[in-house]
């Protein structure tokens, strides 16, 4: 065991990568699923062990191939990255059993193994982005995860999935390109690609190069902004989520945007944070304005949406708004709220999309007008949907309340009670779109034949749903694991910010 421990950071990425290769060679869906399941269930074990190590002994630095940073690629696990690693891998592990039946129904048999291969590659990419301490390596993993997710989305039953995947591909490529341009600027400025090293060197950059630094910041913001679906760069997301296979939607919604958010937090706080005083730049204001716009506009669109997957996709855009709001507030409580919401939203949206996957599995549709009265036929599924929906609204006793509470405290810390109203008022809109579904599903008589014949799905699909729904409530009450860790991570991150220091190049 002791010989394995130091290599855990490498294993976190290498195991799913090899799993992908094996899955591709196996060619048979059922066996590929077993490989994917085994790999996915190993991931949270590794991540949890590393989190424990980080808490006990501090950040882990792993030199890939023995090349010492900053020359070689460094894998760096600190509290924030360990937290996100555990989040992504745990949610993936929870959803995984659901995949078997759902994928069997929605994916052509000859492609099943390839689908699991793509899934494992995507997982590799997402974990890689989170664990790497190297800016260019992050780009590579960004592309790995993106390319594999395009393939997964394109496999959706609806032919519109192809257009959705294509649009996502174009936008994803634009985003990745912008990110690389930004990294290029950083490389020009510092001659380094290692995050920690860049941060050290940026602090010594002269005032004449301040504008290049701002350009780098702008490019990475816009680039990663696309990947995390920051309003108005979100337009690829609704269709991609709506038309992808149910499992892909649940997995991507719970993990892909979260990892992009992680990357932006890493860049803002750990890389640029020491060199740029955000109080002197408008970037925080831009993020806050866009976040609030997302919270209201995307929620309003969700209210009128008939396709439930698309409705939840718009709700994701709105929920990402809460996360980025926390990032923009840039204070301890606000960032705690943002990071906690990262976790909470992954759990809630995982549960909601799995529930819709179960609905599609039984009814063959996710249209609101075709699931009338479904609560009587699929009581467990729809009850889970309602509970996770309460979380989305932010009801006390669910995870949603915790993050919104911290966000509101952060908004007040930065002296803006108007934002408190925005947080509460946008939650009221989510009451409308969740309430609409609950009303149709629970308080109307079933009409269509498919609904009347429906029943709760098999246990392998139901258990993931129940587990995630239980997490929505559990972490809404016992918050030391989610908000507690988020708060510690936020403390470290905000502590690294250069505050009050006049930015280089600013008029003295």
């Amino acid at each position: 065991m002791s010989s394995v421990l130091p290599h855990l950071p490498a294993l976190q990425v290498v195991v799913p990568l090899f799993g992908a290769v094996i899955a591709a060679f196996l060619r048979r869906g059922a066996i590929a699923f077993v490989v994917a399941l085994a790999v996915t269930w190993l991931m949270p074990v590794i991540a949890a062990t590393m989190l424990w190590q980080v808490i006990e002994t501090g950040p882990i630095s792993y030199a890939m191939g023995g090349w010492e940073p900053p020359w070689g690629i460094e894998y760096r696990v600190d509290l924030l990255s360990a937290f996100v690693l555990l989040l992504v891998s745990a949610v993936a592990a929870a959803i995984m059993p659901f995949a078997r039946q759902s994928v069997k129904l929605e994916i052509d048999e000859s492609r099943e193994a390839w689908f699991y291969c793509m899934y494992l590659l995507c997982l590799t990419g997402l974990l890689g982005i989170t664990i790497t301490g190297d800016a260019f390596n992050a780009f590579v993993f960004l592309e790995v995860s993106s390319l594999s997710s395009y393939v997964m989305i394109a496999n959706g039953l609806d032919r519109r999935a192809l257009l959705a995947a294509f649009q996502y591909l174009v936008m994803g490529t634009v985003g990745a390109t912008f990110y690389v341009i930004g990294v290029g600027f950083l490389y020009l400025l510092t001659g380094s690609l290692n995050f920690v090293d860049i941060a050290d060197r940026l602090a010594n950059v002269g005032p004449e190069q301040f504008s290049a630094m701002v350009a780098a910041l702008a490019f990475v913001s816009a680039g990663v902004g696309i990947k995390l679906a920051l309003f108005p760069l979100h337009a690829w997301l609704p269709n991609a989520y709506a038309f992808a296979p149910s499992f892909a939607t649940a997995f991507l919604a719970a993990s892909a945007t979260k990892v992009a958010v992680y990357l932006i937090i890493r860049l803002y706080y750990s890389v640029f944070g020491g060199a740029i005083d955000y109080a002197a730049l408008p970037i925080s204001e831009v993020i806050i304005v866009l976040s609030v716009a997302a919270m209201f506009i995307a929620s309003a669109i969700a209210v009128f949406e008939n396709n439930l997957k698309r409705m939840l996709a718009y709700s994701s855009v709105a929920q990402i708004g809460y996360v980025t709001l926390g990032i923009g507030l840039a204070n301890q409580a606000g960032l705690t709220g943002g990071i906690a919401h990262l976790f909470n939203h992954a759990v809630m949206k995982g549960a909601l999309f799995v529930a819709l996957g179960c609905v599609f599995f039984r009814v063959g549709s996710c249209m609101l007008d075709e699931v009338t009265g479904l609560g009587r036929r699929m009581p467990i599924t729809m009850a889970a949907f309602a509970i996770a929906g309460l979380g989305l609204i932010g009801t006390p006793g669910t995870v949603g309340f915790i993050s919104k509470w911290y966000l509101a405290q952060g908004a007040l810390d930065s002296g803006s009670w108007l934002l408190v109203f925005a947080i509460v008022a946008s939650s009221v809109i989510s009451v409308v779109y969740i309430g609409r579904v609950v009303e149709v599903v629970w308080f109307r008589e079933p009409t269509s034949k498919a609904v009347i014949e429906a029943s709760d799905p098999p246990l392998s699909m139901l258990l993931p749903l129940i587990a995630l729904t239980a997490a929505v409530v559990y972490f809404g009450i016992e918050t030391s694991a989610s908000a507690g860790l988020a708060s510690r991570a936020a403390e470290i991150l905000t502590g690294a910010l250069a505050t009050g220091v006049p930015p280089p190049g600013a008029p003295q």
Binding site: Q167, A215, L217, A222, V286, V428
Partner: protein, 562 residues
């Protein structure tokens, strides 16, 4: 503390009610308030049901004399309401009613603001089904308006709590000084549920549209929950004295001209809540006792009145005063119970209103609010007019409408009999109630002076009604009334009241029209942008997506360099 949180009994009970039907369901329905009350008897004053939630501790059960009093009252009201609605076959209504009663318990025993907020919202969400169950277009629209306003109240409350937690670090339910944004937000949120003037329209809009049985529950809980929270947080806030006095007066004018008898009762509900609010505002031991005692007697007699009108509506399908009349021949028992309720609300000696309303009046006088005292006295006379005389008179007597129907079903009669018995018992023997009040009671209701004043007041009110009715001057016009000099304030005030009323009506009509138009336009505008065909919700061309990327990039760059 060996007992469980009071709301739990109801919530678990609601699940059982949802899965049973017929006689077992009836037994469960009746058992819930009884078991709940037994549970409450075992609840010692103190703090229990602690749940820790990040940095805070939630207190699910905070019991003291005030919360226990409201707890007993709500159990009693739920029991009466359940009996009254035993004949209802529909599944949604009983479940909603039980959940609604449970939510009211939740608020009353909440020791912290987060718990309070949760039940505050549950109160709104569960009660709306009692209005929806009427299943008419009007009721559905009223229900949606009701829900929007109630959820809006919760929204203000939550914003207030968030800011208060940040300012003080405390989420305990405790007295709050009315200063600063957070206090005003919480005050306003309570004010909406409490029907402060201009914030009251939801009640008179929605309650008359609910089902005959639903209104009985509605009348008991929402406003009284708000009164309770007001007593907890804002006791002694002087502003409340004037708000309460206004609340006691203005509904009278509307009640007099209103034709829908349940709407008349809704207006008189606001008027009665005004007495309580006023008592809370005065804030002395006597005043708070008076407010609490009045809440107790009010819930019972108001439920009784709503039950009698509910029985009439149930049997005849009509509720407008102009269409009813002469029903005492068909429904003698209901008529009798209605008169008991009317006597109680009018504060006849030996009926429950008499021993509680006067506590608030006396407190007002003692604390040097003679004008408020006069206003409340005037309001008492007005109550007698519209609730005490108008309701029974137009429904059961007046001109014979020719309607011949059956007496109310036995379960309704039993519920009404129970309520009527309580009204008389409290009126004759108030000391058990007095012993439950939050402060020691040093007050004797049956003094010669008090009985005399009240009888005089009632007598002259009755005289005015009879005279107006005989001369066919009773509603809608109220011309100058020739009364004795000592009652002259009753001449001036109605005149002013009528003018205010006319303006109020016009303002209300314009406001309603404007509000509807503005809401429609906002909805249309949002729908244009966000609806399925809206620019924001359509699938964007890929070029547009890329365009916005450059916009964001340019925005960040330009703003950074400027």
């Amino acid at each position: 503390m060996s007992s469980v949180a009071p709301f739990l009994v109801f919530f678990v009970g609601a699940i059982l009610v949802a899965v049973t039907s017929g006689v077992p369901r009836a037994i469960i329905l009746l058992a819930i308030p009884v078991i709940g009350a037994a549970n409450l008897l075992g609840t010692a004053p103190g703090v229990g049901g602690l749940v820790s939630l990040f940095d805070y501790t939630l207190i699910l059960v905070y019991a003291d004399k005030l919360s226990l009093l409201f707890g007993y009252l709500f159990h009693l009201a739920a029991f009466i309401g359940v009996i009254f609605s035993l004949h209802v076959k529909d599944r949604v209504q009983p479940v909603a009613a039980i959940l609604y009663s449970g939510s009211a318990m939740g608020v009353v025993f909440a020791g912290d603001l987060i718990t309070l907020f949760v039940f505050w919202e549950l109160l709104a969400v569960t009660s709306v089904f009692l209005i929806l169950a009427r299943q008419s277009q009007r009721a559905t629209q009223a229900a949606i308006r009701y829900l929007l306003i109630q959820v809006g109240s919760g929204f203000l409350l939550l914003a207030g709590i968030l800011i208060r937690a940040w300012e003080t670090g405390s989420i305990t339910v405790e007295p709050i000084a009315l200063e600063g944004l957070s206090a005003w937000l919480i005050f306003l949120a309570i004010g909406i549920k409490c029907c402060f003037p201009l914030l009251h329209n939801w009640l008179t809009d929605a309650y008359p549209e609910a089902t005959p049985t639903g209104t009985v529950f509605l009348s008991a809980f929402t406003t009284k929950v708000a009164v309770y929270v007001l007593a907890r947080c804002f006791a002694g806030t002087e502003l409340l004295v004037y708000i309460g006095a206004t609340m006691a007066m203005f509904p009278i004018f509307y009640a007099v001209i209103e034709n829908d008898l349940r709407r008349v009762l809704a207006y008189s509900l606001i008027n009665q809540v005004g007495f309580m609010v006023c008592g809370i505002g005065i804030g002395t031991a006597l005043a708070i006792n008076g407010a609490a005692a009045h809440a107790f007697s009010h819930v019972i007699y108001k439920a009784l009145l709503f039950m009698s009108m509910g029985a009439v509506l149930y049997r005849t399908g009509k509720i407008n005063g102009s269409e009813l009349g002469g029903l005492y021949k068909s429904m003698p028992w209901t008529a009798g119970f209605c008169i008991v309720g009317a006597a109680s609300i009018s504060a006849f000696p030996l009926f429950s209103g008499f021993i509680s309303k006067s506590m608030v009046l006396t407190a007002a006088l003692k604390e040097g609010h003679p004008i408020v005292w006069l206003a409340l006295l005037f309001a008492s006379a007005g109550v007698f007019h519209h609730a005490g005389i108008k309701i029974p008179y137009f429904a059961f007597f007046a001109h014979d409408s020719g309607i011949r129907t059956k007496e109310a079903p036995p379960n309704m009669l039993i519920a009404m009999a129970l309520a009527a018995a309580i009204c008389i018992f409290i009126g004759v023997y108030p000391w058990p109630l007095y012993s439950l009040l939050p402060f020691p009671v040093d007050y004797a209701p049956y003094t010669a002076e008090h009985v005399l004043t009240q009888s005089q007041l009632l007598f002259f009110s009755a005289l005015a009604f009879v005279w107006l009715n005989l001369t066919h001057l009773y509603p809608p016009e109220l011309p100058s009334v020739n009364i004795d000099a000592e009652w002259s304030y009753r001449k001036a005030l109605p005149a002013i009241g009528l003018a205010v009323l006319a303006i109020g009506r016009r303002v209300r009509a314009v406001a309603l029209r404007t509000a509807t138009r503005v809401l429609r336009q906002i909805h249309a505008a949002i729908y244009r942008q966000s609806g399925p065909q809206g620019a924001l919700a359509r699938t964007w061309p890929t070029g547009n997506m890329a365009f916005w990327t450059t916009v964001v990039l340019a925005m960040v760059l330009i703003l950074s360099y400027v």
